[in-house]
Amino acid sequence: MTRIGVITFPGTLDDVDAARAVRHAGRDGAAEAVPLWHADADLRGVDAVIVPGGFSYGDYLRAGAIARFAPVMGEVVRAARQGMPVLGICNGFQILCESGLLPGALLRNAGLHFVCRDQWLRVENNETAWTSRYERGAEILVPLKNMEGRYVADAATLDELEGEGRVVFRYVVDEPEPGQAPKRHLGADSPNGALRHIAGITDPTGRIVGLMPHPEHAIDALTGPSDDGLGMFLSVLDALVAA
């Protein structure tokens, strides 16, 4: 059985949701969600790690700034460098950037408010450990909810990301022709001012992925806007079984 670790820091919120998403993806008993505690420098033998959303340590200094120093993160960085698949969602993405596993940083939304809405994303890269179940160019609908979601990096880094195909998800943003209505209804304007509308990126190996929107909140149309997010969790199970 595939074991996927889900980290809980003080202030983590979406750990229950990430664990549920793993259970949904592994319905037939193929996967188990393993709780990991911030203070333990121990990954409990898991095959992959999810750093979930929330407000670790209140996000008081900078989102992710304090969590990156937690004992468990030392192990995550070590394992990631050896090829373990790691997914950072929202606060998890911020933590992966702060800890240097992914380039760039996430700043306060350009609108200065917390934004919670259903957001269309375009899958730009389906060759990562977490996105193989999607078709390239597919558009998926998942919740976005954060205060610090504006992805920034210097121009050289952005060009490198683009050049190597490491932008995994982009916000679908319609910039309508004057006098024309935007094509899509939900989240058609830029939700946070992210540079080049970047919603998620990967490291050069395609095994470490971070994104701001919440695929774990889109696994069942009963409690989310769609079940489009489930593909990410199914993808990693495929990747681990194939390995």
């Binding site: 003080p10 919120l13 979406d14 949701d17 407000f55 008081y60 408010h113 917390f114 909810k145 009963l222």
Partner: protein, 619 residues
């Protein structure tokens, strides 16, 4: 201190010297003048305290009585009316009620061994002074109330009222309030599943910020606030106690009343508190682990009136008394006096009663969550609440006299003479659109009006997805959350109130609020079970306002009896007025319903499939 009396100076761990007005000292200085009026006590109330104690109160006792006997804590003007809720609740209505009025929050049995607790509370005035922090700490307070019942908080809602949308002050208040509710609730990981935004000129200097929280638990995990079992320990845990949110009590240490040069002489302390949602989130998880481990005998949150309230309520609900060593309370500021410590409304604190053999395990759980926890006292069999400060007794009172036996007023009630004219002024004299162009214009004006337009600017700032159990949130008529993932059992909640209807006819207007919330719950497919309320009114000293209040309570209670669901709790907020002008009477009514499988919910809207038949029910 004036009057040539001697006070003892005690060194507080090497910090600034603090003057301590002990019980002994109070007994010896009966004539010592006390600033009870500045603390909001009337002459006869002060006289009653002296009678209860057989001496003058100490500074610390005076601080306790004054906050606990305030309108906010003692319900002194509303008590006689609120009794009507109890009188009209039949046994049949009580069948599913596990805890009702008088507890921190009402609890109902929703079946399959699940219980749900819910309550609304106001944080109106603080939100006007400091919109962000006022609203944030409003959410924090109601969440702790729910937690103290033994439940996991699972959702919040926020009925809001503001002045005109285009008024400059609304531009200050509204964004701050919304950001504060979002900032706190989002960080706690509680989905916001609904609320209201209403604009009316009467709320211009007095916005209403009501916050509702829903919690769930297994029936057997219900915790009630009581301190029983002599020898059990009292543990204060969570944030440290500081000088913020002390408000009026600072007069006890003000220049005027500590004429002694060495007095701390604090001038003006901020009555605003700053919330720390991260600390609260950790406190929630810590409490839930303590409950699960069976380490809690009784528990109480610290809200308004801080330790004064928690200690006196825990003690009077128990079977004995309580002794507290106040100098053990972890402080954030230097040189705090006992009165200040007892009155501080510092947020994110809880107080638990724990068996002596469980104390170590309790402290271990707190340490795991990095939550500061301190044994501050124990349950006694004396029937008295005794509080010491470095060995000196500064409080020695019968706890019930503080917590429950405060003054009760029968305020004058009078239907205002102007009411007839108001009612006679019907909409009949308004011009009606008739031509299509007029209709079109009216419709456009209506959908663009602040009271009817989209609420997305507000609701987009609230996380409605967290915890993955939200089945309905905006723009649905009720919020709905799944409680049991296996069976799909869940609850729906709606809050409503149209203050203009209530102003016209408080009795029927309140029934309309109840009926609307009831319908909003029913249309989702849930069965209404219980009612909570937040009664926002003007000054109780105005007989016209008291009439509105009395009528509203009667209307709500009679309506509930008619519908067969009980009022399980609520909150009264008086003095909502600007100058002499009261707000529209605003009894916000919340109805909670149960649905045995949320997959069978009925979403809002129609037209999903072609060929649907549209039926109109009712007249």
């Amino acid at each position: 201190m004036t009057g040539g009396s001697k006070t003892k100076t005690i060194d507080n761990d090497g910090a600034a010297a603090v003057l301590v007005d002990s019980v002994e000292h109070a007994a010896a200085t009966p004539e010592h003048p006390q600033p009870y009026r500045e603390l909001g006590l009337k002459d006869d109330e002060y006289a009653r305290i002296r009678e209860i104690l057989g001496r003058r109160p100490t500074d610390a006792e005076l601080a306790m009585y004054s906050v606990m006997w305030s309108e906010h804590c003692s319900y002194k003007s509303s008590k006689v009316h609120l009794r009507y809720f109890g009188e009209t609740t039949t046994d049949e209505m009580k069948a599913k009620m596990l805890a009702g009025i008088g507890e921190n929050a009402g609890v109902v049995d929703i079946g399959d061994g699940w219980a749900v607790t819910f309550k609304v509370e106001s944080h109106n005035h603080p939100s006007y002074v400091e919109p962000y922090q006022g609203a944030a700490t409003g959410v924090g307070g109601i969440v702790r109330d729910i937690l103290a019942m033994g439940a996991r908080p699972v959702a919040v809602m926020d009925p809001l009222r503001f002045g005109p949308a285009d008024a400059p002050d609304t531009r200050r208040v509204l964004p701050g309030v919304v950001a504060g509710i979002g900032g706190y609730g989002n960080c706690l990981g509680l989905p916001n599943i609904g609320g209201e935004v209403v604009f009316d000129a009467s709320y211009a200097g007095n916005p209403l910020v009501n916050a509702l929280c829903v919690g769930s638990m297994r029936v057997e995990d219900l915790h009630l606030a009581h301190a029983s079992g002599t020898g059990n320990k009292v543990i204060l845990f969570g944030a440290r106690t500081g000088l913020d949110g002390i408000g009026g009590v600072s007069v006890l240490a003000s220049d005027t009343f500590s004429g002694d040069e060495s007095g701390t002489g604090r001038k003006k302390l901020p009555s605003v508190q700053v919330g720390d949602p991260f600390t609260e989130k950790v406190l929630i998880e810590c409490c839930l682990e303590l409950f699960r481990s069976g380490l809690v005998v009784g528990i109480q949150d610290l809200g308004g009136a801080g330790l004064s309230c928690a200690t006196s309520e825990l003690a009077s609900a128990g079977d004995g008394g309580m002794r507290v060593e106040l100098d053990r309370v972890p402080l954030r500021a230097e040189g705090m006096t006992p009165a200040e410590i007892l009155s501080s409304e510092s947020q994110e604190r809880m107080c638990a009663v724990v068996r002596p053999e469980d104390v170590d395990a309790f402290l271990r759980v707190c340490a795991k969550w990095d939550v500061t926890a301190t044994v501050i006292g124990e349950v006694t069999d004396t029937g008295r609440l005794e509080i010491t400060w470095h060995g000196e007794t500064v409080v020695d009172v019968p706890p019930r006299t503080v917590a429950h036996e405060g003054p009760v007023y029968e305020r004058p009630v009078e239907r205002p003479a102007s009411q007839d004219a108001l009612v006679a002024d019907t909409p009949d004299r308004l011009a009606r659109p008739s031509a299509p162009a007029e209709l079109r214009e009216t419709l456009l004006r209506m959908i663009a009006s602040p009271n009817l337009c989209s609420r997305r600017w507000v609701t987009d700032q609230y996380d409605r997805y967290v915890r993955g159990n939200t089945v309905l949130a905006q723009p649905a008529d009720s919020g709905m959350v799944r409680i049991d993932e296996e069976t799909g059992r869940g609850v729906a909640v709606s809050t409503d109130c149209n203050g203009r209807y209530v102003r016209l006819d408080p009795y029927t207007g309140t029934q309309l609020a109840l009926a609307e919330a009831y319908r909003n719950v029913a249309v989702t497919g849930a069965t209404p079970l219980a009612v909570t309320n937040c009664l926002n009114f003007g000054s109780p000293e105005d007989p016209g306002v008291m009439w509105q209040f009395e009528q509203a309570v009667r209307g709500l209670a009679d309506g509930c009896r008619e519908l067969g669901i009980p009022v399980t709790g609520g909150n009264v907020s008086f003095y909502n007025q600007t100058g002499d002008t009261a707000i529209l009477p605003t009894p916000v009514v919340g109805v909670l319903g149960v649905i045995d499988d949320v997959r069978r919910r009925i979403p809002t809207g129609f037209g999903a499939e072609a060929g649907e038949t549209l039926l109109l029910l009712g007249e």
